[in-house]
């Protein structure tokens, strides 16, 4: 990817958190191609990358989480041993239970990472994800690559 020209945010959109974290609703977003076994997997053959996303309930069992990821550049064994390594629902549930965060949003979202042509992502699916979270009353999103 040495010659790939990354798309840059300019200007960088920036929203300040207007309340303490202990009162904030937090949502998890993964770009690791994670999906439930019951869901259609991402299209890893799609030219330019699959820009769709999956909704994953925040109470999903870790073992129900599978992974479809085009990149063979990383080691998936850690994630398979402990899904929290890349999709930390259990850690976030603990932080909600202890009051460090206000709540964990009822749904997390999962994108596939291997998107080399992000036009549709920026025009359609990322704004759609924002609309879902806005409807849920999400204050903070935590984004985790894999």
């Amino acid at each position: 990817m040495a010659t790939y020209k990354y798309r840059a945010l300019d200007p960088v959109p920036f929203t300040r958190l207007a309340k303490p974290l202990r009162n904030a609703r937090v949502a998890l977003v993964s770009t690791g191609g994670i999906h439930l076994a019951s869901q259609a997997p991402f299209d890893i053959e799609s030219k330019g990358g699959d820009t769709s996303f999956r909704e994953i309930p925040a109470d999903a069992a870790p073992a129900a989480l599978g992974i479809a990821h085009k990149s063979d550049a990383f080691d998936q064994s850690g994630f398979r041993a402990d899904r929290n390594l890349g999709f930390p629902l259990e850690r976030l549930r603990e932080m909600a239970a202890s009051g460090e965060i206000g709540s964990l949003n009822r749904r997390a979202l999962s994108f596939m990472g291997s998107i080399t042509a992000p036009g549709r992502l920026v025009r359609e699916t990322a704004p759609a994800s924002a609309a879902l979270f806005a409807a849920d009353g999400v204050d903070v999103a935590l984004l985790v690559p894999l």
Binding site: Y6, P13, L17, G78, E100, G113, V122, L142, P145
Partner: protein, 84 residues
């Protein structure tokens, strides 16, 4: 490429009034994309929260990522995780 996706999705969320924080294993990619807030961790691809089966470390990383929400800016905010 999943780091570019993080930055671009974060940008759309921020644009829609949702504050974001994120984790990166590829600091130089995150610098180029200008992800609004990111915690750079010294771990390999596939290991954003450090180690499997280490909930103490995982929680420490999450706390450090959430702490970026207190950074005054201006964006992009990119901070190294030093709590390992």
């Amino acid at each position: 490429m999943c780091h570019q996706t993080v930055g671009l999705v974060a940008g759309e969320l921020e644009r829609h009034g949702i504050a974001t924080t994120s984790i990166t294993m590829l600091r130089e990619v995150t610098e180029k994309v200008r992800t609004p807030r990111a915690l750079a961790v010294p771990y390999a691809l596939g290991y954003p929260l450090g180690k499997p089966g280490d909930p103490v470390l995982q929680t420490r990383i999450l706390r450090a990522a959430f702490a970026l929400l207190d950074a005054p800016g201006p964006p992009p905010v990119l901070v190294d995780f030093t709590g390992a």
